[in-house]
Symmetry: C2
Subunit: 342 residues, 2 copies
DNA sequence: CTGTTAGCGCATTCAG
DNA sequence: CTGAATGCGCTAACAG
């Protein structure tokens, strides 16, 4: 494996076919300015020699690599995996490949990855991640290729995302409409400007505007993982006056919360309603099925990638900061059903 | 966004620093044969000019791209997402980037993707997918770079995987040890030579060797998804003499099966034991927690990538066909506990 | 320790 | 419609 066949180049094809490199280049690139007869002849010797164009050489000569860089927090997360699928499908459709990098939300790693991607001369960059800091802005501004943010937001850049605050507010409102007076929050880190902060804010605004009011004691912060949701719920249940409903800012924690309730011998949604966020497959693979904010993960990726292709092809862009719609998906972990649509 | 700064090259740096291109190239590549003083001088003007090496040009000149191609069925599947994370982590550790492509298990798409990846001059290829056909073998053999299979198997190629048949047999044996006489199978397509077929075979062998015997009527085939597992289980429960235990060949279907049992008013594992396969996060995020075959997904990816780096660096390779160990993870969907370890 | 010289394989003017 | 010439930005001998 890995034998070094003598590499056969465009020059070899030209010689064998009795034409010039330029002509071979033309047929390879589908340039119409080639007489059908010679095209056929070239195509035939290409096949005969088993010629395979070298995209690196082409990239150097044409200054286009038909490759885009994708920086993502963690591909093993259901949320980002689905988003990435949307990206890759559209990329593939437009004949781009994606170089995928996991950042684990670490700023320095993000910065370093972006740099490496730019060195590789990607034609564009799709960035998903934590906060866009001043340093990010500098790197983006210094890039000579377009950068689009997905599931992230920064006024200086094109982006595709949803209205996190509003969605969190809507989710909380469902619980309010159910008549709950004590509504808990299982949040993410408030230092997380992308999800943690805005979803917390939406929760808080909903409670304050409803007159129920915000209570610090009903708030627990987790790390978005199942176990942390379970732990948080246990704490909330141990309160002198436990909540009768809980908004968990992502589905994994919400499911953890459901199980904590069940472990305590209580029922969801009869004793405690639970609503999640994201609508990853897990949401519909547990019992009771989880009510949640359905984020169009695939579409965020797909639309972001499509936007990026527009930049790369210098198409005219009508809207470069896209806020996608979400739905509130009411299943069996809340008492309210079939309403409260977006 | 996308302004074209005048690109600054190694030549500019050389001129500004008063040295030759070669020297600049040396410091950029960490070649020790440079006097510290000149190194410092070069480094300084690199910073001053904001020089960024062009990896495409480097790739053309050096015939190395430090990029590997990864062909995967579907990144949005929990199984492959985790596997990919293992790949990317090791790739990153060895300073490689990965170009990720989804094949949806379609042979023609796989072949086409492999070809595109080779055009891009990847230094190696990691292939995950369905069956390795004769056509695959030809393409792999024609590649001038190493190819490693992950979670797939073909005697002609290096690979990293687990023993699917044995694992399926072990899983089934658990159910036999529990004393079940009627043990159902929720399998994958038998045309799937990678998972569907061997897991079916393991199930069958276990039953036949135990003396219980194989019964066609206890077998249902799904498509690895939750709903198909649920449907399959409903059919099994409708049998005149329904099974008291079921082996589902992946976790999603197993969870679907659990819910079908519960929907029928029966309990898991009291009325029906269920064991799954893979051990994706879902397995421990449902109640009862799913007993399952714990496949080291991350490790398969990581080891495969490491093996690939060995090929790419011409390291000596002791073992190029690696069969990783799995565990049987007994949780709450089976009656047997804490035993049956690998 | 440093500079010179050739390409790497291809796209792209510019002629014809 | 086709060919010749040039260079993309860099690495890699080879000298010195």
């Amino acid at each position: 494996m890995g034998k070094k066949k003598e590499t056969i180049t465009i020059y070899d094809v030209a010689r064998e076919a009795g034409v010039s490199m330029a002509t071979v280049s033309r047929v390879v690139n589908g340039n119409p300015n080639v007489k059908p007869v010679t095209r056929k002849k070239v195509l035939e010797t290409i096949r005969r020699l088993g010629y395979r164009p070298n995209a690196v050489a082409r990239g150097l000569a044409s200054k286009k690599t038909t490759t885009v860089g994708v920086v993502i927090p963690d591909i093993s997360s259901a949320f980002y995996a689905e988003l990435t699928r949307g990206i890759e499908d559209i990329a593939n459709m437009y004949h781009y490949n994606i170089i995928l990098c996991n950042s684990d939300l670490k700023k320095n790693k993000e910065l370093q990855l972006i740099d490496a991607l730019l060195e590789k001369q990607v034609d564009g960059l799709l960035f998903m991640g934590g906060e866009v800091t001043e340093e990010h802005r500098e790197v983006f501004a210094g890039a000579s290729v377009p950068v689009v943010l997905a599931a992230t937001h920064d006024e200086e850049r094109p982006y595709v995302t949803i209205d996190q605050v509003k969605a969190a507010k809507d989710a909380t409102s469902i619980l309010i409409k159910e008549g709950n007076q004590r509504i808990g929050l299982i949040g993410g880190p408030l230092t997380d400007a992308i999800m943690g902060q805005p979803r917390y804010q939406g929760y808080r605004e909903a409670l304050e505007e409803s007159g129920i009011g915000f209570e610090e004691e009903l708030v627990r912060l987790g790390n978005y993982r199942y176990q942390s949701g379970l732990d948080a719920m246990q704490e909330l249940l141990a309160l002198p006056e436990p909540p009768t409903a809980v908004f968990a800012v992502n589905d994994e924690m919400a499911v953890g919360a459901i199980h904590a309730v069940q472990d305590a011998g209580k029922k969801v949604p009869e004793d405690v309603s639970v609503i999640g966020f994201d609508n990853i497959p897990l949401a519909s693979q547990v019992r009771p099925r989880l009510s949640t904010v359905a984020v169009p993960m695939y579409d965020i990726g797909a639309v972001a990638m499509r936007l990026l292709t527009k930049y790369m092809n210098d198409e005219t862009i009508e809207d470069n900061q896209v806020v996608l719609e979400y739905r509130i998906e009411l299943a069996d972990s809340t008492r309210l059903k079939n309403e409260g649509e977006e």
